[in-house]
Symmetry: C2
Subunit: 614 residues, 2 copies
């Protein structure tokens, strides 16, 4: 008699424990109260090689989960990028060295190189604190999404049935299990099983650029070995990424015919070796020498593919994320970043829906926001990869790509390569109607960093640190100056309005108080630390002493200040800045448009969240 297949239930089942899956799992586990399950078919996590770059926006996002500290401590930082080009005497020569991150609002004006395993460790350790582990080696065998509309629209139903197989290493036997899930996230890589199971196609092409990658500790006289360096030579291109400890990674352009299997048209690892890749690198770097001081830690070769999945979601119940829905060239350092930012975008939405706070329709914005971004990224990548993989112009070959051409592309690419350019278009959660009341903030982009001084204790606080990824919308109330009598009347009137039961602050809150459960409120006053008394503003603006900030410098006079000016906000009236749980600006509004703020939240929040299943 066969044993019954065990069955279990999960709010969210995540398939794949790479960066996209781990970001999702950690965010849901940290949110609390959600039954999360994460599986991976690899028996253990990777420990060397693979993706290794964190761009500045991703560092900000990791910081919002309390996970950046470790990356900042362990990783190698790239502040500048050096350029080398063909010299007149043969070989290459130094051309210029410029800042790698040119977006002025970057909180972290550098990129971090750190192997993927270390980044995954940070997530795994954080998940462990929330009692969540990756279940491995477990692979999915079958997935079935109910077609019953009632089930699909009921928050209490588990419309997805997934059959899993656990591999027993000792006996090689597979143990089956059935999981019933409310939501499934397929973060299972470029060859995504989830994507294929639902017949989602990948749109786009393979290029014919072939690249090799080697990780090693180098012995070299190349002066920019600790900078990111982009090298164009007559022998092909090469990029250097300085890594943690003494390591570097080389991306080496290879000539396709030597490394591609003519039968399959695919790169063939068996036709290659780290020695062959290094041989090309040595020629490209001439007259500088380079050789490994130790064993090659990791290596690979690849052909650049540039593809986006035709859809990112099935019925807003099954989502795909990360490499499962976009592939592009690794040298612009986007792969892992785009992947983690996919699920960063998704996790809070699933959480708010599961809690009964938000209407399930907000889940549609996952595809509209992230697929648009992925398409833009691929378009950018096509231009960038073509320039970087193209032939270098020399005095002998005037048809090649000039340094000026590449450099121009490099500079305009900064929004993408830093991640700061992510801009979500108008939707139920992005309302740019009153954009003009905060001129230097862009609705749909991430809140920009700014240091304010806490009124009660004069401690300088980076506003980003007050916008943690804790599933709450942040209501920043820029109260303006609170000195003149006329302003006080306006401020008191607003306090009364916000305290009324019809105000959004009260309407979406269980206990009738501006509670911390749905919103986090921060008040920013144009005042100074020497004489402002934070007890002088109405109670509704200061749910706790730590929530009142001043637009002033710190005691040294060197940190903070000019915040209203930097953000382009008037200090003569009240302005609302609504920051989504993922750090993106959902709306800005002047006090006169308070009704629009009410309507913004009314369009997707559910007034009574007592009915939630959580």
């Amino acid at each position: 008699m066969p044993l019954q297949t065990p069955e279990s239930f999960a709010d969210v089942l995540i398939i794949g424990a790479g960066p996209a899956g781990l970001m999702c799992a950690n965010a849901l586990a940290a949110a609390g109260g959600i039954e999360v399950r994460i599986i991976d078919q690899r028996p253990s996590k990777i420990s060397v090689g693979h993706a290794d770059g964190l761009h500045p926006r991703t560092i900000e996002v990791l910081q919002s989960y309390g996970l950046a500290e470790r990356m900042l401590r362990e990783g190698s930082r790239m502040y500048m990028c050096s350029f080398y080009n063909p010299s007149h005497t043969g070989g290459i020569e130094f051309t210029t060295r410029v800042p790698d991150v040119t977006v002025p609002t970057a909180r972290f004006p550098f990129k971090i190189a750190l192997h993927q395993g270390a980044i995954e460790d940070a997530f795994l350790d954080s998940m462990a604190q929330h009692n969540l582990k990756v279940d491995r080696p477990v692979k999915p065998l079958a997935i079935e999404l109910s077609q019953d509309q009632e089930q699909l629209h009921s928050l209490s139903s588990y419309p997805i049935k997934v059959t899993l197989a656990r591999l027993d290493a000792a006996t090689d036997a597979e143990k089956l299990e059935v999981v019933h899930a409310k939501y499934v996230v397929g973060a299972d890589g470029a060859h995504s099983w989830v994507r294929k199971a639902f017949g989602v196609t990948m749109d786009g092409d393979q290029t014919n650029y072939v690249w090799g990658v080697v990780d090693m500790v180098p012995d070299t006289d190349f002066p920019d070995i600790r900078h990111r360096a982009a090298i164009h030579s007559t022998n092909g291109s090469l990029m250097i990424i300085p890594r943690e400890s003494e390591k570097v990674r080389l991306y080496v352009q290879l000539s396709g015919e030597d490394f591609v299997d003519p039968g399959t048209g695919r790169v063939s690892k068996s036709k290659s070796s780290p020695e062959k890749i290094l041989e090309v690198a040595r020629k490209t770097l001439h007259p500088f020498h380079i050789s490994p001081l130790s064993d090659i830690e990791w290596w690979t070769i690849y052909m650049i593919g540039q593809r986006v999945a035709s859809k990112f979601s099935v019925e807003d119940r099954v989502f795909i994320a990360g490499d499962a829905c976009h592939t592009h060239s690794p040298k612009a350092g986007q792969g892992m970043n785009a992947s983690m930012n996919d699920t960063h975008n998704l996790a809070w939405k699933i959480t708010q829906v599961l809690r009964g706070w938000a209407n399930p329709s907000i889940l549609r914005t996952y595809e509209s926001e992230r697929r648009k971004y992925a398409q833009d990224l691929i378009d950018f990548d096509k231009r960038y990869a073509a320039l970087f993989s193209g032939k270098a112009r020399t005095s002998a070959d005037q048809d090649g790509i000039s340094h000026d051409e590449f450099f121009k592309a490099y500079k305009t690419a900064s929004g993408f390569t830093s991640g700061m350019g992510i801009h979500y278009g108008p939707s139920m959660i992005v309302n740019a109607k009153h954009q003009c009341c905060a001129e230097n903030l862009v609705v749909g982009q991430r809140m920009i960093p700014q240091i304010f001084v806490r009124a009660a204790d004069a401690r300088p606080m980076e506003i980003h640190d007050l916008l943690p990824a804790d599933t709450l919308f942040k209501i920043l109330i820029f109260l303006g100056s609170a000195n003149e009598e006329s302003r006080l009347a306006e401020i008191n009137a607003l306090a009364n309005e916000l305290s009324s039961p019809t105000s959004f602050l009260q309407r979406y809150s269980a206990d009738g108080q501006p509670s911390a459960s749905v919103f986090d409120l921060i008040t920013i006053v144009a005042g100074n630390k020497e004489n402002f008394n934070y007890l002088s503003i109405p109670q509704v603006f200061r749910p706790h002493w730590s929530k009142v900030l001043l637009d002033d410098t710190d005691v040294t006079g060197k940190v903070g200040g000019d915040g209203y000016k930097m953000l382009g906000i008037s200090s003569e009236s009240v302005t609302f800045v609504i920051v989504r749980p993922d750090g993106y600006i959902g709306m800005v509004a002047p006090v006169a448009a308070l009704q629009d703020v009410h309507e913004y939240f009314a369009s997707f929040l559910l007034p009574c969240h007592g009915s939630s299943s959580l």
Copy 2:
């Protein structure tokens, strides 16, 4: 037949595991290769109350041991100090609010409040990584220092015999043990057993100022409850120290007659209670109200004593440190800071002597440096405590102390209250002969912070972070600009000289290379990150790629730069700045005085350290 008393040997036996003892134990354990033993008679460490203030210099010192991060995360920070004085209508009123730390070079422009137990935990955790634990409850019964001059002068001898008793909690029996030690550090508090055992007297007086202390979570409408606040009222003085979490500490001036036992002349805890102290506090704070929101976490009363031990060392084999050699008022936040800085000063000296690097005569500088500091501190404390404990001037009482008088003292006290004023006078390890070649550095004071940019990777580096308390002297070579041809000749000549076997760099180094074992070398070039090639300077100046810094801003243009100007060093010649292992400047010298640098080190370093017992 009685059992034989067990005997053991230790390089250093530390008696007392308060802040002074723990700083010493951790420093010696981290140094490595030293047999350290630390005992304490309390059965467990304290967990609430007691000392709680870290001044900015102590934070820098903790940072040099890698221990500041936790204090910065867990502690409450005091950026400003508020002053309240008698109002014309009775009660008190706000007078002014000013920065608490006014020394412009403070790296951490604030003080930290955190209970002593948390600070001790940081040491205990760090010690555990070096396999050192506090042995407790163990108390010393007898100590004997050999009078044999040969033994006293031999590094291989153990001239101190200490008899210890371990209390067995179960049986109440004492188990004896004899420890033979090379050095003993008595960090056993104000009633020091070690001090008394050697008949060392305390010079100074008891005041008649009586103060009460309460730690609690307050309910109050006092606007400066999260600032350090100094309150003078007609009812006495009061100081508020905001603490970690929501707690505050109140220091409340009490009228002596109510709390002093007339028989002993000492304060009597039995005559007092937290309620009585709070009753006084409430009157002092009128018209503001204050009451505890929770139980009183800790409380005490004390009379201020201001005393310094007549000597800090016996034969440079037994040292006393911390409260054992100085007591003063707690409100200037000096006690724990002075204590930790005592053993911070001592530990590297003992380490270098034990390793055979330095002549034992450097141990004499412990007393000369720290006793002088303690005396200055007491002198300052007498003036400060008298002002703070004195009567406040009011319109009715013109004889009291005015706000202006107190405020002036407060401002001039900043060197002491921040710890930045610590200035060690000339000695074998402090040589101010060439002071003029680095105008804004003070030989004998701590190296001032400055951000430089690392040449190889353009990463901004705070020079303090390159001066860890790792027992090594740091040789900072300010090479000046390296652009002109004429400078290169000078730089190459210096490189040859430093590479010669008679150079101090080679002379005190076991392997004939500028090794990391006795010195750490950092080269600072007046160059810019866009085009400087760190491989262009001679090898002796760059033992590792990370050791070459540039005096330039970081990529944002907002951090670093102007270092030569800030330190008052010329960029047209070479200047040496020698930083002691404890972060204090031992010497500055122009390249022309290289011979004086040789002589400085020759005066206390031992050329051959192969003969060490370690």
